[in-house]
């Protein structure tokens, strides 16, 4: 009986391992292919396409060089950093009090406000009303046009609210008994305990703002404000229409290599930030999602 159970457990473990290995390969193979495509020399690409393995001696950083040495790259990267940092800070500034307020059961009108919050989750205002609002507020050519409209995400608010609700009520009560007001409770008791959720939600916002593409196209007419995703798109468009560009057309990298290099460059900052936040990430989302 014991042997059967042990054998079943082993088979189960092997099955899980196989399943996870397949899953891992499904994620890794496309990723690997993007890397190989980014570093493949033009002559090999044109002759053989993209091989699965590339000789360590036959690779080139030409596509990265073309993108990174572009005269507008530093400015575009800086723009993306500004939008990401400012956007994440503003979003957290608004999301934290909203989530805390909604998590405080004694707050007057909590249910009504919650209903309104959920209404915005269910019904989007659409492109034109937002466009009218932004242009009406004279926010064209301003980073705030990118940052303010998505500054509070209901999804993120609900996750954070769940986390706050999961914190022991006794902590807040004891602080209140000691004379702390709600702001002090939030700042001195709740936030120090909320590092996981702040980092998790902050990451959500940061990824969103880092990848912002369409709204900059819509509202940022000044090319000095162009963020990285828009610049990379412009470079790729130029590369794909090189017969119309009479001068200095790309010729030392394939369009596919440029695309892949663009993907890697845009992904790198988040790639490095993610592991650093990961230890908080699981805890943050889980605690927010489970209610005892």
């Amino acid at each position: 009986m014991l042997q059967t159970r042990t054998r079943d457990a082993v088979i189960f473990q092997i099955g899980i391992a196989i399943f996870l290995t397949i899953l891992l390969l499904m994620i890794l193979i496309p990723f690997w292919r993007v890397i190989v495509t980014a570093v493949i020399p033009l002559d090999i690409y044109t002759k053989e396409g993209v091989p699965f393995f590339l000789s360590p001696t036959k690779w080139t950083s030409e596509a990265f060089r073309q993108l990174l040495t572009h005269s507008m790259f530093p400015r575009a990267a800086l723009n993306s950093v500004i939008i990401t940092v400012l956007g994440t800070a503003i979003s957290l500034f608004f999301t934290v009090p909203l989530a805390y307020g909604l998590s405080t059961r004694s707050m007057p009108g909590r249910k009504v406000i919650m209903t309104f919050v959920l209404l915005t989750y269910l019904f989007s205002p659409g492109l034109i009303p937002v466009y009218l609002l932004i242009t009406g507020m004279k926010l064209t050519n301003n980073y705030l046009a990118i940052i303010l409209p998505p500054a509070v995400s209901v999804y993120n608010t609900l996750v954070m609210m769940g986390f706050f609700e999961g914190l022991p009520e006794e902590l807040k009560e004891s602080a209140r008994l000691d004379g702390a007001n709600e702001l002090q409770v939030l700042l001195h008791i709740i936030l120090p305990l909320s590092k996981p959720i702040l980092l998790t939600i902050g990451l959500f916002y940061a990824v969103f703002f880092w990848n912002e593409f369409f709204t900059p196209i819509l509202y940022l007419n000044d090319s000095n404000l162009t963020p990285l995703p828009v610049l990379l798109r412009n470079i790729l468009i130029s590369a794909s229409f090189n017969e119309y560009v009479e001068y200095n057309a790309f010729s030392s990298s394939s369009l596919e290599s440029l695309k892949s290099a663009g993907v890697i460059i845009t992904m790198l900052p988040m790639f490095f930030i993610y592991p650093w936040i990961q230890r908080y990430f699981t805890k943050g989302t889980l605690v927010g999602g489970v209610k005892e």
Binding site: L98, G101, V117, I128, A151, V154, N156, E182, S240
Partner: protein, 560 residues
């Protein structure tokens, strides 16, 4: 104190709530800041009338209005990656000094993003003063028509006499003018199409010479040469690694890159523009299956690069540069412009492509393809016209075609370009970083392909200069262009008034897949199967599509 805290949190909550109201769906929510910092736009929205008030004295027309007229221009870039010109661009200063116009130039993205940007502005009645009609599908006329129907675009008839030189150089094609005339009024400024008839049929001369073959003049000869290129090792490397023909699909059916073959049977393109009396889909023509049968013989003989149905343009171009095939259809600049030709030149210093005339088919037909003549269309918003900016915009456009032409197209004479003894634009003796051809200078000539160039010989010579290949041979891109343009083309400019059917996706899929199935041998090509194919098209509304297309052409005065 506790109450105040609640009030503060509640206030923040309400503020957050308002912000949440305008978040995009992607990240679930959003809101509106009630007191978001107001940032002044780069230019004040003061609108000055271009015409000065009429004085009671005898002076009829003051030369300049008292304050600069602000004009906002939205146009696509020539080199999208290069960005817009800087604020201290000399052209801005000259436009202000010479025309009393304060110009703001905004680069609009290409494709769907550009269309969405323009549509958002249109929906908000916030169209710029002068703008380029943008359509992701290339239907610029349709994009303009929709704005005209909404009353957002101003008629331009009164402005045309104010820019005589520009009309002469840019708006001189009656057909293009008629395509942007609605209800008897002109609403669009149709810029000359970027180098019409610029693609053509080319062959590797060095391969022909090595195998002692002649340039093919008929489809059969072409098949024979393609076979020799495939089987007789034309590059002499001892490997069986070449094909006769290369190509890829772009557009419906077989696309336009094999039109010279379809043209040999009198059926290039989708529509039969060459016989207005029998206007309709070319597949109705009895010669169409004959043309497909010939194409199938190329596929069956395995003389065409087998990846052609799935190949992308970039991959196709990489392959001819690696010497994979010796016959193809290519854009003259993509083939022969120095930056594009160099990789081929490095691989095959003695390789040489030469242009080939349209093959003549069994019934005496010969055509290179269909010339659609699609170009950029600009328009003036009704809002700008109501603000009295029309005259100033006409003044600006006329300046771009006269005094400002060289500045906007090439830069400053003596610094960015010179005009040599032959009257050609040159960069000889100039600082390479300052030359108009340099990467650094591209932001300064961003308007050139949209609003400045009109395909003059001087312009084209400057854009596509001659050079020597690595073995010293003189390469003249213009010779390719001239050869291609001299070939017989079908005038298909009327395609701009043909609107896609309501079930365009289904129709196009059936149309294209059916043709591909025949040439790839997935479906037998005979009278019965062809009749079934046509019946399938009819079931998808082909007859109605043809009737509507014909009526649109009649309404536009393009056929009788």
């Amino acid at each position: 104190m506790k109450k105040w805290s609640f009030v503060l949190i509640a206030a923040l909550l309400v503020l957050s709530q308002i912000l949440a109201a305008c978040a995009p769906v992607a990240t679930p929510t959003e809101q509106v800041a009630t007191e978001a910092p107001v940032v002044e736009p780069t230019k004040a929205p003061v609108v000055e009338p271009t015409k000065a008030p009429v004085e009671p004295t005898a002076v009829p027309e003051p030369t300049k209005p008292p304050a600069p007229v602000e004009i906002l221009l939205w146009a696509q870039a020539t080199v999208t990656e290069a960005g817009a010109p800087p604020d201290d661009w000399i052209a801005y200063k000259r436009i202000l000094d010479e025309l009393n116009i304060e110009l703001t130039y905004v680069i609009v993205p290409t494709g769907e993003d550009g269309e969405a940007k323009l549509n958002a502005a249109a929906a908000a009645n916030d169209l710029p003063d002068l703008f380029q009609a943008v359509s992701a599908s290339g239907d610029n006329r349709g994009a303009l028509k929709r704005l005209v129907d909404l009353g957002l675009v101003a008629p331009l008839d009164d402005l045309m006499p104010l820019m005589p030189e520009r009309v002469k150089l840019h708006y001189n094609d009656p057909l293009l003018i008629s395509l942007v005339t609605f209800n008897g009024q002109l609403y669009g400024l149709p810029e000359p199409p970027p180098l019409p008839k610029r693609e053509g049929f080319v062959i590797r001369k060095d391969w022909l010479d090595k195998l002692n073959l002649k340039v093919p003049t008929t489809p059969e000869e072409l098949l024979a040469v393609a076979k020799a290129f495939t089987e007789q090792d034309p590059d002499g490397n001892g490997k069986n690694d070449t094909y006769g023909l290369g190509g890829f699909l772009v557009g419906q059916g077989l696309g336009n890159r094999f039109d010279m073959l379809m043209g040999a049977y009198g059926v290039p393109g989708i529509w039969n523009f060459s016989d207005p009396a029998n206007f309709g889909l070319n597949v109705r023509n009895s010669k169409y299956p004959e043309a497909l049968a010939f194409f199938k013989s190329l596929v069956d003989a395995k003389v065409i690069d087998p990846d052609w149905p799935t190949l992308k343009r970039d991959e196709f171009r990489a392959r001819w540069k690696q010497g994979l095939f010796g016959i193809m259809w290519e854009d003259f600049a993509a083939l022969s412009n120095k930056s594009n030709y160099t990789p081929f030149d490095e691989n095959f210093p003695n390789g040489e492509w030469i242009p080939v005339a349209a093959p003549v088919g069994p019934h005496g037909d010969a055509s290179y393809g269909v010339y659609t003549g699609r170009g950029q269309i600009f328009a003036i918003s009704q809002k700008a016209a109501d603000a009295g900016k029309g005259e100033a915009i006409a003044r600006l456009l006329e300046w771009m075609a006269t005094d400002g032409y060289y500045l906007l197209g090439f830069g400053e004479e003596g610094v960015n370009y010179i005009i040599d003894a032959n009257g050609n634009i040159s960069t000889e003796g100039l600082d390479p970083a300052q030359a108009y051809t340099s990467q650094e200078r591209q932001p300064f000539t961003q308007m050139r392909n949209q609003l400045v160039f009109y395909n003059s010989p001087q312009e084209i010579t400057a854009r596509y200069p001659t050079y020597n290949t690595s073995n010293g041979r003189l390469m003249e891109p213009m010779k390719f262009l001239e050869f291609f343009q001299a070939q017989p083309w079908v005038d298909g400019r009327g395609i701009q008034v043909i609107l896609p059917p309501a079930n365009a996706a289904d129709f196009d899929r059936f149309y294209s897949e059916g043709i591909l199935q025949f040439v790839l041998g997935q479906k037998t090509l005979n009278e019965t199967t062809w009749a079934e194919y046509l019946a399938g098209l009819d079931a998808l509304g082909a007859a109605d599509y043809e009737a509507t297309a014909k009526q649109n052409l009649i309404d536009a005065g393009l056929i009788e």
